[in-house]
């Protein structure tokens, strides 16, 4: 079945006990303030809210956010007992004497402390006009309208009952109490009529299709029709331990109820089905919430349990499911030979399982390698090799440590295409059994005969590859040593766990230093820094669905072949692998797969991959559509700056003077929260995406004032992308505003204009000088007697230059002053030594500008005079 079939297909299997589920607990060790959940509700954003005695909790699958009066100023109290969905896209949380409206965060708090005398809030409901109807523990009903409270009536005067629940139906307020059900027509509001026996202790009312579901303590579950007739759905005598407060209706309109000892029942019209979860056995189920893919269970004492279908199966066998599993071999008859670390080897077929241990002739029960050769099963152990006849189920032959050819740890056993059985021994190199069953040692360099080889692979090219500890890769061809390749790894990483070839014939090694690719004679390394699940890769398997599966101490990773191709094309250091991780949250019994065994992994006839782990076997069916559900529950959460913390509900504005601000967002996903990573970029600042991993908090500091668009990109399962935008305006101080900058610009343009005019006059002077020179030359040539006049002109010219110098100095005096003061103003906040106020500086600038104006006027006057009188 594919994972997208939904929870209730899964639930049908659950009740039959035939399927694997994953249960995750959230309690006071990992994010809840208390282990008893009083109420649970899911809001329209997708958050699951929990009410506890120690605060309210918002849960998104990854993080819990706890609201208490200590961390949330608006809250009046910490104990909340009921949650009610509102039509206003939020949740009402009821404490003893205050009401909290939750919308992403704590949105509004109403204090009823002065209104309730000696009683407390017990129930509420919303009518179509947005009014709240509130019931107390002592039979009083209040109407809460536009922030005002009006008491409507008290049931039964002195003997007032406890109001457990209320719903509005067909213009009536239905009131469930511990002394029967009452009906109050909303348009009359003065008399409530009891419509059931007063012996009925009614705990819950739920609207259900056209009916009302009534949970009656000690009596059972009833369906009430429009005429207030009750029809028994499930009698309490049938299931006496039900917790009627947990009565719940699933998104598919199934009626669910929990018991005081951890059972959950689906109550159908004909039959009751039980869902069994051994993990919550004997614990009181207080709340149930079922959506398409999950079952949320609020318990007394265990916190919150979130259950979903397992995507990875565990091999079920009472003897093996808790064992440390070593190599697995699937023989030509389809029998599974399962090696263990301390219980020998098991032969598992359709209907039977036979164990081979010491009594059956196995000298060592720690299995290291397995192979099938000539209809016999070769079992390599920590001490010796055993040959089992699979038909007779007897150990036929043994090679032991004290024999003439001593065999201790048999690391690998591999049948080559030329029908030799190769094997490697710890610290003793490589051997094979020839056709006659005689042990042979191939010729190879001396130092390799004392090495340990833990992996063997026979390539399409007929080459036989041996992966060593500390000796890299050794290659044989036709039984003859060819070469030894050193690996680009650090000491300690020099372990070749597995070897394989891709479709292009390029070699891939799983090592303690990541995945190694040999392409065109060059090694490339893909490791954790590129998004690989771990540095130690124990197995590599290609499925028929264009994926490669690798195993590690931290679970499995499924990598699209296209990603490996992408890496091959561009093996740069900033390559980031888009792939999916499978671990305990997807159903692996244990994330630690085994290594130093051969083979590391097995594939059965159906194409399922069998992974030996240190506790049981995990089985992957690659044909399944794994974990590809798309979640779109991205939510902007809050922004913080200075002391402020605000909800984000649209564009945001950061006030002037805030050097930093923090933005939080949520990504609601209860199934695979680990499979989503985030990137962000701030348009207007940088064009590149910044990788933030699973962090949901972004800190910005020293942003220049202006308008920005923050984009957060979520990438799920390596292939589902979504971008979410938020407009941010960083508000400037006065001196950072455009208005001020424009003012400054005008000021400088004004200055520039005068300087231009000034230099023009200077040029004019030069031009005059030139003309005078020509003219004087003519004159000099014509009449030497005019020499005196010429001298006179030159003298005047000199005077002009002097005026020029003086004027430049005069204009620059106030100008430099204004420039300096303006710079100072811009950096005003950075300077600590300033002894003057901003106002004083503004005044000085203004004065300097006036002086400048004065100078310019004078200059203008002078130059006009010069034009008139001179030359």
């Amino acid at each position: 079945m594919s994972a997208s079939d939904g929870f209730f297909n899964f639930s049908q299997k659950l009740s039959s006990g035939k399927t694997d589920y994953v249960i995750q607990f959230w309690n006071n060790t990992n994010g809840l303030p208390h282990n008893t959940i009083y109420a649970m509700e899911k809001d329209e954003f997708g958050f699951v809210w929990l009410a506890t005695e120690e605060g309210l909790v918002r849960f998104d699958g990854m993080e819990t956010k706890v609201y208490t009066k200590e961390n949330t100023e608006a809250l009046k109290e910490n104990s909340y007992y009921r949650l009610f969905p509102s039509t206003r896209k939020g949740i009402w949380a009821a404490g003893d004497y205050s009401l909290v409206f939750l919308q992403k965060n704590v949105y509004q708090v109403f204090d009823f402390f002065d209104i309730f005398e000696n009683t407390s809030l017990a129930s509420l409901t919303e009518d179509n006009n947005g009014n709240l109807w509130i019931g107390t523990r002592h039979g009083s009903i209040y109407k809460f309208k536009n922030g005002k409270v009006e008491e409507t009536l008290t049931l039964n005067g002195e003997k007032s009952p406890l109001i457990n629940d209320m719903v509005i139906d067909q213009g009536n307020l239905l009131i469930a109490t511990n002394k029967g059900l009452y009906k109050l027509p909303l348009d009359q509001k003065d008399t409530a009529e009891r419509i059931t026996e007063d012996t009925f202790d009614i705990v819950r009312l739920k609207k259900y299709k056209d009916h009302i579901l009534v949970g009656v303590h000690g009596s059972g579950i009833y369906l009430m029709d429009a005429f207030f007739d009750l029809q028994l759905l499930l009698s309490d005598s049938e299931l006496p331990d039900l917790n009627y407060g947990s009565l719940s209706i699933s998104h598919e309109e199934r009626v669910l109820i929990g018991s005081n000892n951890g059972e959950i029942f689906e109550v159908g019209p004909e039959k009751v089905r039980e869902w069994k979860f051994k993990e919550i056995e004997d614990f009181n189920v207080r709340n149930i919430l079922a959506d398409e893919h999950h079952l949320f269970i609020g318990t007394v004492g265990l916190g919150l349990a979130v259950i979903h279908q397992a995507e990875i199966k565990q091999f079920k066998d009472h003897a093996l499911s808790t064992q440390n599993i070593r190599p697995i071999l699937i023989d030509s008859r389809g029998n599974k030979w399962i090696g263990t670390a301390s219980k020998g080897v098991f032969k598992v077929s359709e209907n039977s399982a036979i164990g081979f241990r010491k009594p059956e002739g196995l000298n060592n029960e720690n299995i290291v390698s397995l192979a099938e050769w000539k209809d016999e099963i070769y079992v390599g152990t920590r001490a010796g090799l055993h040959i089992i006849d699979p038909k007779a189920n007897v150990v036929k032959k043994k090679y032991l440590p004290k024999d003439d050819f001593p065999m201790e740890v048999v690391y690998t056993l591999h049948l080559s295409r030329d029908d030799k059985l190769w094997f490697t021994l710890a610290g003793r190199g490589i051997y094979y059994f020839d056709e006659k069953g005689n042990i042979q040692q191939p010729t190879m360099p001396e130092h390799l005969t004392t090495s340990s080889f833990i992996s063997i692979y026979e390539g399409e090219n007929g080459l036989l590859y041996f992966g060593a500890i500390d000796q890299g890769l050794v290659i044989f061809k036709d039984g003859i040593f060819q070469e030894q390749l050193q690996l680009p790894l650090l000491p300690g990483e020099q372990v070749v766990y597995t070897i394989t070839q891709d479709r292009d014939g390029d070699l891939w090694l799983g090592t303690q230093g990541g995945l190694l690719l040999l392409k065109d004679g060059v090694w490339q390394v893909l490791n954790r820094s590129h998004g690989l699940i771990a540095n130690g890769i124990f197995s590599i398997i290609r499925d028929n669905y264009k994926h490669v599966w690798i195993s590690s101490n931290f679970g499995l990773q499924r990598i699209p072949e296209s990603e490996l191709k992408r890496f091959k094309a561009n093996p740069s250091s900033d390559f980031y692998l888009n792939a999916t991780i499978f671990d305990e949250t997807q159903g692996m019994g244990n994330e630690e797969t085994n290594s130093y065994i051969f083979p590391n992994v097995a594939v059965d006839a159906e194409g399922q991959i069998w992974y030996p782990t240190i506790r049981g076997i995990s089985i992957v069916d690659p044909s399944k559509e794994f974990a590809n559900r798309s979640y779109e529950h991205f939510q902007w959460d809050i922004i913080r700056y200075g002391d402020a913390m605000l909800d984000i509900s649209g564009d945001i504005e950061v006030p002037a003077g805030n050097n930093w601000f923090i933005i939080n967002f949520s990504h609601i996903d209860y199934l695979n929260p680990d499979q989503t990573v985030f990137y962000y970029r701030l348009n207007g600042l940088k064009e590149d995406w910044v990788f933030v991993g699973q962090k949901r908090e972004l800190l910005f500091s020293n942003l220049k004032p202006g308008n920005y668009t923050l984009e957060v990109r979520s990438l799920s399962f390596g292939n589902q992308e979504k971008t979410h935008e938020l407009n941010i305006k960083v508000v400037p101080f006065f001196y950072q505003t455009w208005a001020f900058k424009i003012l400054l610009t005008f000021f400088f343009i004004f200055l520039g204009a005068f300087i231009y005019r000034f230099t023009l006059e200077k040029k004019l002077g030069k031009k005059l000088e030139y003309m005078v020179a020509i003219r004087s030359k003519e004159l000099s040539e014509a009449n030497k007697s005019l020499k005196n006049s010429l001298l006179e002109i030159e003298r005047k010219n000199q005077a002009l230059k002097e005026i020029n110098w003086q004027q430049s100095h005069m204009i620059r005096g106030p100008l430099t002053e204004a420039m300096g003061l303006t710079k100072l103003l811009i950096k005003f906040d950075n300077y600590s030594y300033i002894k003057k106020s901003k106002q004083e500086i503004y005044d000085r600038i203004s004065k300097a500008l006036e002086e400048l104006d004065e100078v310019v006027r004078e200059m203008n006057e002078k130059s006009e005079n010069l034009e008139k009188n001179d030359v």
Binding site: W805, S808, H809, R812, G813, L815, T816, E817, M819, G820, L821, K823, L824, N830, Y831, S832, Y833, I834, K835, K836, R844, A848
Partner: protein, 126 residues
């Protein structure tokens, strides 16, 4: 390297600005400020033994920067006193003239900027 730093400029705003720059840019904690160059000269006379750095304006009514430089020269204090000319003049002639004095370290155009100070720190205050 210097015992004291003097700033001489007839414009009080400029004095204040320059003081601020020198303090903020960590050239000196407590510069001596003179709006009258003659007072500055008196001070120099009274503290002949001190090694001084003077930020000196050129165009001042009571006495020009050049005259003050001349006076220092005559007191034979060239060794003890280093000067940075700070002027609003952008005239090349003034810059060239400043180069003639051996104890003039540099010629800066007003107002003093951070880059000026950084250069100075780099060279003399490291």
């Amino acid at each position: 390297m210097f015992d004291e730093v003097l700033v001489v400029d007839d414009n009080p705003s400029i004095l204040f600005l320059h003081e601020l720059m020198l303090v903020e840019e960590c050239i000196v904690e407590n510069p001596k400020l003179f709006s009258n160059p003659k007072k500055a000269l008196d001070y120099i006379r009274g503290h002949k033994q001190l090694k001084l750095l003077i930020f000196l304006d050129i165009n001042m009514p009571q006495m020009s920067g050049w005259e003050l430089l001349e006076a220092i020269h005559q007191m034979e204090l060239n060794e003890n006193i280093q000067v940075i000319m700070v002027s609003s003049s952008i005239s090349k002639a003034d810059k060239l003239k400043a180069k003639e004095y051996s104890n003039v370290l540099d010629y800066w155009e007003k107002p003093i900027a951070e880059s000026h100070c950084n250069l100075l720190k780099e060279r003399y205050f490291k």
